[in-house]
């Protein structure tokens, strides 16, 4: 097809403004002059200039100008013209092909494009290569882990099978076209992968990624991430400081999707967070945030940096859609009950193995890694062979970063994230946008009464009230594998079969009981063997689940469990559990934990003290189960 025919078929090409633009400064300096001249010639001809006149003015022959036009506009009818690209001197426009026969020992003809020619000449070579690559890409059971060496081996096998003359290319080269084969492998793999992606028969599913409404609290994202660093802690036990290397803790973060504002976080000293950690995260986000006093030197909050819960009652936190993944702790009844039953929110689990839906929260984990986790020496890096990983020499020592510093640093980083202006938000900070949405748009409001009632770590439950008079013991209720007794139950035992209990998940030594009519029955107490330290539901569940496996002494289960962890404190994972349990046990203590000291014994038969509301614990009474 000549340049004149092309212009007749595609008349819009008469306008040079329709041609692609190639900036002159993007070309090598030695080709700029000729490119500008060619451009000038073409523009003049497209504007109606005579070919001979234009050629004369440019000091070129008419044939050269015609050749230039053919280069830019000519070519195969089905293919696209080169256009502006054709004006660059020596630029390869057409696909290169070998015209001469292949090189042989009889006559050397060079090896340019020989491999490409070979692909078409040798029977089954092209198909064998394609089958090999496709099997790998489709992950077929007979697919190979293709290396360039293996691919070259297959190349040699097919040539031998086809009885290819030994005096012809590739046998004329020293490497037997190894480099060409290697390059073809990578090029063809990319092409086949691209074709497969374009051939996708099913359209992408609509999973609600298109947002039509942008509003604070419309949707939030929650996820967990194992921090890429190990920390240290000094446990104060019996007036002794025990240094420990901790395992990698988990961070749970909650983000508002439309304002990208971080609502809060929770560092769970465990490898696998549970429902208790999820509810603690909700509690952290809903409880008004107060700027803590930082113990780490030189670490301080930026001015105005905070979490939205610190903004006051005018900006109550609530949830529209809670986007999670399919982790077990997200499917806990306590979490579903809190999110769906209390807040009326939508729980969205998303498609499996599709973290794109929660890209915001994943990007925040990357932000934490860049800002903190990957900067300290005790980092583990992103993968086992990461070069930034802590050296073997330092791994033998306890890290410098303490657990307290870790919590404080992440608090500072996330509050600063909230306070940093973002281009995607119109140069507003997430916190400012959150405030703007709340003050100028309609955002759902939670009244004070409901806010007080909906405590994530407080639960209610209806339980049967048991009283077997033949056993000659007081009425009791069963809760978390234990019998709870209290003076109030005796009064209600004759009238009612079921009562309602209120519990705090962080300390289940005592519960508060009510009749179903709302009459207060006072507190009920766990057996004295479980009264020694405050403990969470998850700790009690763990002890019951593993008591046989680890042969825990159930006369004093909490201390036994602590001793077990203490014996294995050199294992970073157990050290992490030790820290969690230590934090639980000392949550109400002002002094350090005293594990082996005993207090004055009290009689077993005495009812629980009503003034202090909590019975005193001692080893003597722990030996007798109530």
């Amino acid at each position: 097809m000549t340049w004149r025919e092309r212009l007749q078929e595609q008349p819009y090409l008469w306008d040079f403004a329709q041609w692609p633009i190639i900036p002159v400064d993007s070309l090598p300096s030695d080709k700029r002059k000729s490119f500008l001249r060619n451009k000038k010639v073409i523009t003049q001809i497209l504007n109606g200039g005579l070919l001979s006149g234009v050629a004369k003015a440019a000091n070129l022959s008419s044939g050269r100008v015609s050749q230039l036009l053919d280069r830019a506009l000519g070519g195969e009818r089905a293919s696209k013209p080169a256009l502006t690209k054709g004006l660059i001197q020596y630029r390869c426009i057409n696909e290169r092909k070998r015209k001469e026969p292949l090189s042989s020992f009889v006559k050397e003809r060079g090896n340019a494009c020989s491999f490409k020619s070979l692909l078409h000449q040798v029977p089954n070579l092209y198909e064998t290569f394609d089958n090999m690559i496709t099997a790998k890409i489709k992950d077929k059971p007979y697919g190979q882990r293709i290396t360039p060496q293996a691919f070259h081996g297959e190349f040699k096998r097919v040539l031998a099978e086809a009885n290819w003359p030994q005096d012809q290319y590739p046998y004329t080269t020293e490497s037997l076209a190894y480099e060409s084969v290697r390059r073809y492998l990578h090029q063809r793999t990319g092409e086949i992968e691209k074709e497969r992606k374009q051939r996708r028969s099913k359209p992408l599913r609509n999973i609600g990624l298109v947002k039509t409404i942008h509003r604070a609290m419309r949707a939030i994202q929650i996820d967990e991430h194992i921090l890429d660093l190990t920390g240290r802690v000094h446990l104060q036990l019996n007036d002794e400081l025990i240094p420990l290397r901790l395992g990698r803790a988990n961070i749970l973060v909650m983000l508002d999707v439309d304002t990208t504002c971080a609502l809060g976080f929770h560092i769970a000293p465990t490898k696998s967070p549970n429902q208790q950690d999820m509810l603690t995260l909700f509690d952290n986000c809903l409880r008004p945030w107060e700027k803590p006093v930082l113990s780490t030197p030189y670490l301080e909050y930026a001015p105005g940096a905070m979490f939205p819960s610190a903004l006051g009652d005018a900006f109550p936190i609530s949830f529209g859609t809670v986007q999670l993944d399919n982790a077990f702790c997200h499917k806990a009844h306590s979490v579903i009950d809190f999110v769906c039953e209390k807040y009326g929110a939508t729980l969205s689990m998303g498609l499996p193995a599709n973290p794109v839906v929660r890209e915001l929260v994943e990007s925040v984990f990357d932000y934490i890694n860049k800002q903190f986790s990957h900067r300290v020496d005790s980092t583990t890096g992103s993968f086992p062979t990461d070069k930034i990983k802590e050296s073997r020499k330092n791994q033998k020592k306890v890290p410098i970063i303490s657990f307290q510093t870790l919590i404080e640093a992440i608090s500072v980083i996330l509050t600063e994230y909230n306070n940093t202006p973002k281009e995607s938000l119109g140069n507003a900070s997430p916190l400012k946008l959150f405030q703007h949405h709340n003050s100028t748009h309609f955002v759902r409001y939670i009244p004070d009464q409901l806010k007080r009632e909906w405590q994530p770590l407080h639960g209610f439950k209806e339980v049967p009230l048991h009283w077997n008079r033949n056993e000659n013991r007081l009425p009791h209720i069963s809760f978390q594998y234990q019998r709870y007794q209290g003076p109030g139950l005796l009064a209600a035992a004759n009238d009612t079969k079921k009562i309602r209990i209120e519990y705090d998940r962080r300390d289940i030594r005592t519960l508060h009981a009510f009749t179903l009519d709302g009459e207060d029955l006072g507190e009920v107490y766990a057996p004295k063997s479980w009264q020694r330290f405050p403990h969470t539901m998850s700790t009690r569940q763990w002890i019951h689940k593993h008591s046989k496996q680890y042969r825990l002494n159930m006369r004093d289960p909490l201390a036994t469990y602590f001793h077990y962890l203490l014996e294995n404190k050199d294992n970073p994972a157990d050290a992490l559990s030790l820290l969690r349990v230590y934090t639980e046990f000392t949550s109400t203590l002002e002094t350090s934990l005293e594990l082996d000291k005993t207090s004055e014994p009290t009689t077993l038969t005495s009812p629980p003290p009503t003034q202090s509301n909590k019975p005193l614990w001692n080893l003597g009474i722990a030996n007798h189960r109530s």
């Binding site: 599913r205 999973i207 509003r215 769906c340 039953e341 969205s348 309609f442």
Partner: protein
């Protein structure tokens, strides 16, 4: 196809079997919960924790909440057997003065005929109507559906508040304001606590169909129009 005096073909209807026709939400299997785009939410017209297996089902539930003719609906109402395969329809919808409707949501509204034809005849035998709704028709009304889902969230949160007096006062004040106003006229953005009951009363009246809101074009906001 042979013609029958009955509005359904008994031979085709017999291909579908079930233990009961009392609609009750079928429990989603744990494996399927993980495999699909699963959502859970407490609704108002289905006052339990409702399961939705895709984005279209979820939006459609929002549209049903906003439809004043719909009195109630039940997602995943039956477990049916068509020949050798199990099948659960997406919705059982009760509309005032209309036959019960069993709905199935499918991309482009296309359902395999080997299932659709027996189901149509089976439900016609029971006096129900079986319809296939296209996902695309639901996506077109995304804003409206999301607005209604937001209202459902608010109404569920405030389910224990009594707003009978506030509803009466609100209707009276609307009569005085030429039957229309905006959300900003009823809610004080500076003191939401003070006008909270009025806000809930307004949403309840909207949900019951006594008020009409301009919810199909833009997100719920202070300038959203409300009329009688």
């Amino acid at each position: 196809m042979t013609t029958h005096p009955l509005p359904f073909d008994p031979a085709l209807a017999r291909l579908v079997k079930t233990d009961t026709l009392t609609p009750c939400q079928q429990k989603t299997r744990p494996n399927f919960k993980t495999a699909c785009d699963f959502r859970q939410k407490h609704m108002i017209k289905h006052p339990f924790l409702s399961d939705f297996h895709c984005w279209a089902e979820y939006l459609h539930a929002g549209l049903l909440e906003g439809d004043p003719t719909v009195t109630s609906y039940i997602p995943q109402p039956y477990l049916l057997r068509i020949r050798q395969t199990w099948y659960t329809p997406d919705n059982y919808v009760v509309r005032s003065s209309q036959p019960r409707q069993i709905e199935e949501l499918k991309p482009k509204g296309e359902m395999p005929e080997d299932k659709q034809i027996p189901l149509t005849h089976y439900f016609a035998q029971q006096g129900f109507k079986f319809v296939v709704i296209s996902n695309e028709s639901v996506y077109e009304r995304q804003i409206e559906a999301e607005n209604w889902l937001e209202i459902v969230t608010i109404l569920h949160q405030s389910k224990n508040f009594d707003t009978a007096d506030a509803e009466e006062i609100l209707l009276e004040s609307l009569y005085k304001k030429n039957n229309s106003c905006t959300l900003g006229d009823l809610i004080d953005p500076g003191d939401r606590e003070r006008t909270y009951m009025q806000e809930i009363a307004m949403f309840r009246l909207l949900h019951q169909g006594h008020l009409i809101g301009a919810l199909s074009e833009t997100a719920l906001d202070y300038d959203t129009g409300i009329s009688l």
